[in-house]
Amino acid sequence: MSITRRSFIKGSAVAAGALGLSLTGLDFKGWAAKAQESEVKVKPSLCNTCSSHCGMWIHVKNDRPWKVTGHEDNMRSQGKLCARAHAGLYWIYDSDRIKQPLKRVGEEEFESISWEQAISEIAEKLNDILEESGPEAAAYGHNPRETGVFYGNRLMHALGISTVCTHNASCNTARTLGFNHTMGGVPHADLSNSNYVVLIGRNLGGGIRTSELIEFTEGVKEGAKVVCVDPRQNDSAKIADEWIPIRPGTDLALVLAMCQVIVEEDLYDKEFIDNYTLDFDKFAETLPQYTPEWAAEITDIEADKIRSLARELAENKPNCLVHPSWKGAFGSNYENSTETARAVAYINALLGNVNQPGGLFFSYNSPEIGSLDTLDPEEPQTPRTDGVGVEGEFPLATSHGLPHVIAEKAAEGIVKSIFIRHHNPVRNFPDYEHMVAGYKNLDLLVVFETHMSETAILADYILPECSFAEREEVVEARGGADRGSVSIRTEAVPKVHPETKSFDEIIVLLAEELGIEEYFDFTLDEVNKARLEPLDISLAELKEKGSISMELPEPSNEVEFSTDSGKFEFYSEDFARYGFSGIAGWKEPAVGYKTANNEFKVIHGKQAYHSQTVSANIPQLAQITKDYDSNRIWMNRAKAEELGINDGDKIKLTSPIATKEVKVKVTERVHPDTLYMPAGYGNKTPYYETAQKIDSLNPNDLTPYQTESIAGHAMMQEVIVKAEKA
């Protein structure tokens, strides 16, 4: 049977109906009456609507998932859940799920095939590619969580494939790289005990990780002063003491000027600098040029404000912090993002807040997980095809890889095969056409998915996974201040579609067909038992409880960095070796920092009730968007008046790669040079009917394909658009 979008949807509807009919006569009242007789079963799981994997209980009434509640003993949820977690239950019985293996037989046209055929054809094609072009021609991309890492990376390594990518080059690789090369890692921000918190672009109330929102609001309640620096008044700013609007892409200038004030006025922690850092003098020498007056011209923040912010922050040292952030302002947005991350690390070092209450912590522990005693494939020495670690390309980029560069290599025919799991690079990296051109040109694109994402619709083979609530996965460990937890996904509800499989099952089938089964001679239960072995917890107990928390040693105040020198490094030998600046200094955004009258920078950021573009198809979340008309782009009121644009008007945006129309929200809560577009809209897949009803602009349609020079990330916000009334 050939499947197109039309027949797919029609087929689903029929299948859903059949499913209903086989029950209690498709009579809702009858079902409800029956439901009142039944008790509620509660099964543990881990949320899948974002990648935080919050622990949850799925309450099942009459074998129907009814609601979820937060798991108390999971470090990520701590008994609480966000809107996305509640609404994500929808996915289990969503009629749009992929129910059988699909093979592409034409332009976005698929045929349903058996698992035997899918596995044997994929193995044969992959073997041909590896034989003809070597392992450099193949790659794997995913959202890196335990199961995908354990099974996916293992399969790739067994095949000699080194190019393993994650979504992070569109998320936080600049932040991570900058912190790795100064502090030796990314610390945890002790928000609940802090006296003074500066958030630069980090929107704890919108890009929610439940545990962080709990800590943040505890800190606010305890009286922490919170300052939000962001071109738009974000969700954290709603409960902060102050919002400081800044020109997009100029955070680096602000942080350097704050460092200048703190050093010039002798407000820094000298003892910390003397004992735990290297090359402070080299950094201090660069500072005189970065006066608040200099930064004011770039950032559009008054010099006196910069001075008072720096002084207030330093007065609260060491129980204060500038948040290390995530994607926010400098995760992967601008040409200067890696340098911004290093500068944010610098200012925290000046405050001497490392391993201090209310500062940044490295000494948080995680429960110690065991590993299976089995034949491990060696990590391949093949050079990575995305240029990571390759001299002349991206020698310093992190092992998270560069999926947008992979698309280019695919378009050039250098990469021929990609496996993608729980990841949607085609939609979620800038320049849709660039991504499509690359992924379409592959000889073998295999997508492991539950839904027909933008990447899935380009696949040669789609292998249907069962939903998060129907599968067991690899045990996860999470750390915290003096507690940690181990957790597992369990089969909370029986498989809805019998022809779906869990990722581990699919990988083992592929390994057998590829002739590398010796690397997979164990069951998932054996993997998990080995992981739990050092913790004296039985797998049966964990499956029953879902998450188990345990006390961990109190964090220590000892300061030790995981850098080569063991100290905080102001100067990076690695950066200097590859021709970058040893000391982080001012660097302009790629498109400059100023805009002309009818020009704007486009920024984006999460709403608390959507998760990238994957959640727009969930009816309860889409309804929130409708109720608040919140898929509009924000424009500053004074600027709108200048351009003759009214609230609710359609405006036309022209970027170097596209012209798009979008409805506007006119507001006082955004910098005049800035348009803020809420993330999570603009699905291109024709299979998401609910999402189509709230369709809007996706900034990736305006931003060209670009790579930042150090981390290689996708420079998600390096674009200037011209705006006019449509």
């Binding site: 859903a16 499913l19 209903g20 029950l23 809702f28 409800a32 009456a33 439901a35 009142q36 039944s38 008790e39 509620v40 079963k41 509660v42 209980w57 009434k61 009459n62 074998d63 129907r64 998932p65 009814w66 609601k67 701590q78 609480k80 859940l81 966000c82 809107a83 977690a85 509640h86 609404a87 929808y90 289990i92 019985y93 109330g205 919108g206 929610i208 439940t210 929102l213 709990i214 609001t217 606010v220 309640k221 009286g223 008044q233 969700d235 700013a237 709603k238 409960i239 919002w243 809805v496 608390a608 009730y609 309860q620 929130i624 009121r637 004074a638 006082e668 809560r669 955004v670 005049p672």
Partner: protein, 239 residues
């Protein structure tokens, strides 16, 4: 009593809310024996005292977790949200304040909706909440007209509003909005305890926000949904 309330409540929404609710989580139900593997009841609140919900808007980020938790708990149609937010921008860039507050049934002591209901579908509970007998409701909209806060919503000939999760509070548990809130913004407890906590919090807030106030002590002879506001209620147009 508790289980009856639970079941009646469950039926009242799910049966009548019809297709859209069902479509949200449409699924199979089989004839297998259901077993009780209880979720532990974490809370142990009084069931026969005056209770309240305290909403601290100075901590809320409008994440909408309460709204969706409530929808699932009460098996509401996708289009019906018993919790929404009213917001307002005050001032102009860059000195702009964003004021907002939870908007849902205030559980007035003097519940004018109850007095005007032609079929006596509304009543006050011992705990102080305003509840609706869903089966008796004819969706006439009298309550919608009389509510000073504009809360009741008529959908498919029935009225929808928060009933403080009667099936939970009558067995000593917290309403769903309270138990899911990750922003430390919603508390459930005895009315007297909440008033004390709220007054303390407002005093602290006034050090930074001189206009901070507690809304609900006097309005409509007292509200069982108390609001901590960073500004005066008049700026939010609560009445």
């Amino acid at each position: 009593m508790s289980k009856q309330v639970d079941r009646r409540n469950f039926i009242k929404y799910s049966a009548l809310a019809g297709v859209s609710a069902f479509a949200t989580l449409a699924t199979a139900c089989n004839d297998g024996e259901a077993e009780e593997t209880g979720s532990e009841v974490q809370d142990d609140f009084p069931v026969d005292e005056k209770m309240g919900i305290l909403m601290d808007n100075s901590l809320c980020v409008e994440c909408q977790a309460c709204r969706v938790a409530c929808q699932n708990e009460n098996e509401l149609p996708v289009e019906q949200a018993l919790i929404s937010f009213k917001s307002k921008e005050v001032g102009s860039y860059p000195d702009v304040k964003y004021h907002f507050s939870r908007h849902s049934c205030m559980h007035c002591e003097d519940a004018v909706c109850k007095d005007g209901c032609p079929v006596d579908a509304l009543s006050k509970t011992e705990q102080g909440f305003t509840t609706l007998d869903f089966e008796s409701c004819i969706g006439c909209g009298m309550c919608e007209q009389s509510c000073p806060y504009g809360v009741p919503s008529i959908f498919e000939e029935k009225m929808y509003k928060c009933d403080a999760c009667q099936h939970l509070v009558t067995v000593g548990e917290s309403p769903a909005c309270v138990s899911t809130c990750a922003a430390n913004a919603i508390k459930y407890g005895t009315y007297d305890d909440l008033v004390k906590a709220a007054q303390q919090r407002v005093e602290t807030l006034q050090e930074r926000y001189p206009e901070a106030s507690l809304y609900g002590l006097e309005e409509q002879d007292g509200l069982s949904l108390l609001l901590i506001l960073k500004t005066e209620a008049s700026k939010l147009e609560l009445i």
